[in-house]
Amino acid sequence: MDQKIVFLTILGMAAVTYIPRAAPMLALAARGIPEPVMRWLSYIPVAVLSAMLAPSLLLREGSFDFGMDNLFLWAALPAFALAIKTRSFFGTVALGMGLVAAGRFFLGG
């Protein structure tokens, strides 16, 4: 693989990643933000996180999977319970990964 082309691709990726990260904040800073927009924005964190999470738990190869061997989904249940109960981010990541690793080891998934 030509590493020079890889590097130029990385620079392109950097540019298209930075623009959406910075443009809204720089544009919105200049003026006040009306209350309804603020209210809408306050739902962005939960919305974006669940939009990224749900398909990875519920779908495998594009279709619903509620089978016992869908470890991503079943490991998520105790991980959610622990996260809600303890608010421990560290513990949640450790428990989730531990369960998936253990499941693969014992069930050979």
Partner: protein, 236 residues
């Protein structure tokens, strides 16, 4: 905005505090960063390029998708376009944090945005909502988080040839597990949970409809509109 005089003792305290804030985040970044490094090495990227991608792009899921595309021999233009679409969701995060940082000045905001990721966004939106907008602390958290990310990618790229598969270590579950922890912290009331559920299902439907690349941003817009709509409607 109040400025505090910081002596060296407090300085150490600030470093320590920032380190405590990113410790859980690092717990997720280390396995994901290493998984990225391993996959980058397997895709044929040099160690230097793998590290530079973490320096310049610094976006976990996009980097993982990009190495997959490099491995499949995709043309650079399509890798860049995919990165653009996948990372468009940051538009919404940047807008959501804008009200909190409006007094920082454009230069500082521009610097802050460079290190705006899913995880730092979730962390800062929580801090800012609690009124903790200390600028030094914010930049320290961002610098430490990216340092962890870069070092993990580097370690993964170096170890790449010796790691046959990332699955037995559940490295591929670090990202979902991180999102679970972040979501539980963000959802502080029933309506937020309802919004999360609604948005999640919307995203699933969109993926099934074949809109993989757009599912996150479209579902987020629909979901936030749903949440804000229900809040407005129930308050009347």
């Amino acid at each position: 905005m109040q400025e505090r005089v910081i002596d060296s003792g407090k300085d150490r305290g600030a470093v320590f505090q920032a380190a405590r804030k990113i410790a859980p985040l690092a717990m997720g970044y280390i396995p994901v960063g290493m998984a990225f490094g391993v996959l980058a090495q397997k895709a044929g990227l040099s160690v230097l390029n793998a590290v530079l991608m973490s320096v310049f792009v610094y976006a976990g899921s996009a980097q993982l998708i990009a190495v997959g595309m490099f491995a499949a021999g995709a043309p650079p233009v399509s890798i860049i376009l995919t990165t653009f679409v996948v990372n468009l969701r940051h538009l919404l995060m940047s807008a959501a944090l804008a009200p909190h940082l409006s007094k920082w000045g454009l230069g500082r905001m521009a610097a802050f945005c460079y290190q705006l990721t899913d995880e730092t966004f979730a962390l800062h939106s929580m801090r800012f909502a609690e009124g903790d907008r200390d600028r030094r602390q914010t930049f320290m958290i961002n610098a430490m988080a990216q340092t962890v990310w870069i070092l993990s990618s580097w370690a993964g790229a170096l170890a790449g040839s010796g790691v046959p598969d990332v699955k037995p270590l559940a490295l591929d579950y670090a990202l979902p597990a991180m999102f679970i922890g972040l979501l539980a912290m963000q959802a502080e009331n029933g309506l937020k949970w309802l919004t999360a559920g609604f948005t999640g299902l919307t995203a699933v439907v969109l993926v099934q409809a074949g809109l993989d690349q757009w599912s996150v941003i479209v579902a987020t817009v629909i979901g936030a509109t749903f949440g804000a709509g229900v809040e407005t409607w129930t308050k009347k």
